[in-house]
Subunit: 352 residues, 2 copies
Amino acid sequence: MLLSETIDKIEPLNDAAIMEAQKRLDSLTKPLGSLGRLEDIVKQLAGISGNVIPKADKKVVVIMCADNGVVDEGVAQSTRSVTAAVTRNFTRGITGINVLTKHAGAEILVVDIGVYEDIECEGVLNKKIRKGTWNIAKGPAMTRKEAVKAIETGIEIVQDLKGKGVNILGTGEMGIGNTTTSSAVASVLTSADIDIMVGRGAGLSTEGLLKKINVVKKAIDINKPDPEDAIDVLSKVGGFDIAGLTGCFLGAAACRIPILIDGFISATAALAAIKIEPKTRDYILPSHGSAEPGMAKVMEAIGMEPYLNLRMRLGEGTGTAIAFHIIDAAIAAYTQMGTFEDASIEQYKPLK
Amino acid sequence: MLLSETIDKIEPLNDAAIMEAQKRLDSLTKPLGSLGRLEDIVKQLAGISGNVIPKADKKVVVIMCADNGVVDEGVAQSTRSVTAAVTRNFTRGITGINVLTKHAGAEILVVDIGVYEDIECEGVLNKKIRKGTWNIAKGPAMTRKEAVKAIETGIEIVQDLKGKGVNILGTGEMGIGNTTTSSAVASVLTSADIDIMVGRGAGLSTEGLLKKINVVKKAIDINKPDPEDAIDVLSKVGGFDIAGLTGCFLGAAACRIPILIDGFISATAALAAIKIEPKTRDYILPSHGSAEPGMAKVMEAIGMEPYLNLRMRLGEGTGTAIAFHIIDAAIAAYTQMGTFEDASIEQYKPLK
């Protein structure tokens, strides 16, 4: 119900605002188009918000935390307990995303959408759907109803943040085993070869990598997810974190808030959201190119190129936190640069 | 004299500091190496400064401004007067680099190293070598003595900034016609085909582009610069801005200050500096990948990959200003993240 309402609410960008923003950009004292993708960012934000002078000063990174039954197959370098430990540490200010959001003037919202352990920790929103998914190598990760509930959880969270005045979102996750589930979902949704969709996650050995590839193959063989039905794919071979982030992307589009992709898991959720409602794409911005090999394939599938090439593979939303600086720089240039009139120089013009 | 003294002073990075920084990085609560190039940045800065906790809080972008006689050939979309107008506007706070350095907490140092017009404007350092270079399509841009003087000007400026406590530098330029001279210098120094080294600069038409390619060919044919002698190349087909920036790179290496490449012109100067003294490379960091096609070739020649993919082509040092945020983020993560001990979780370990 909430999901279908949300999908119905997603509209195209505001073209009039984009055209006004273009006009303003072209009046600034620089060669036409020379700010490159900074100009694209400004136009996209104008089209999303409908404001010619868009704001992105209230930033939140939503971090979906969940466990994955597939870790029983030995596909991750860490034990399941690390998911809970890192989830708790997000509230202690010592993780990568804590430091990088602080540095970017952003906040985090930590969501337990399916961590195995009880978290009960101030600063973690309890939206637990279940204590981790089932093992996708043996059957579906979750029921379809649970998948919809996870997506709707993401939507509700974004609606709530919109109500609090948040005007730009980042996406993050924590969940041991979630590069395995992302590889499975992304392989099905892009029809790409599984071998190139599976990577070393947080640092697998080559032996571990081969095992992981086989687990993904087995999960897809057993579950037979329908590539034309992203919710089916998420429920059969995904995870609560990916489904929750899919909801964040859909919710952001419906609420007209720009939302940034982080790494492979987040990009996979963006892809699922775009499959569910293609107009969602216009509300999404990239951030960095993760070191995971499947990332490039997913970004190609959604037609986006990362702004940052930093070979990070930490997750947590850390790429979005760094990309916030680029968004801010784009808005600063757009709003603070002088015009040709101010500059008293002729407009740069192409030679005949 | 100053040039050869400076070259002699350039030493390798401090390996002990790099190793200590690596140790600290590996104690942070994240999978080993998962901060990717942010970790490389921290190690490089530690190796440059010799401090395990390096600082980059006093930032300056040096902007070398100069005119190029080659604009007489019609290779640029703007007239020479734009160089002087923009140089003056740097002091008025309305240009792209003004806004982006302010946003990054950096300052600019505007240097008239050879603008055609008299600038006489507070806030512009007068180091004019001559009122623009000669036309490289008809003969050398400058004498060898002038090239050395321009390089030494860059060195002196960096020495002065070091004395003022500056601990990280960006490089920028303003000079109508300077993508033409950079294409010529870069073609000779990389032995790359001229056709792929010449681009549309600030926005040339296709006809203009073909003319520009021919001018670069003519300049190289007539002047016969020696590819083994970067100073010869700079003097014959370069410009005062490129030579001045070459001095900045050499000076930064001698003074042990990290220095960032901006776009194609700045990258060409970095390449010249590395040709003069290869150890200079260790003190240089990339920033963005310019839209100029020669940029990729030059970066390949010096073995560097941009952090940012923003398709900017404004020059002025704007790419370095945005990259400063990445440097700051790297240092923030390095100095403020908790350790495994703080986090009370097992260290992430590879599976057998």
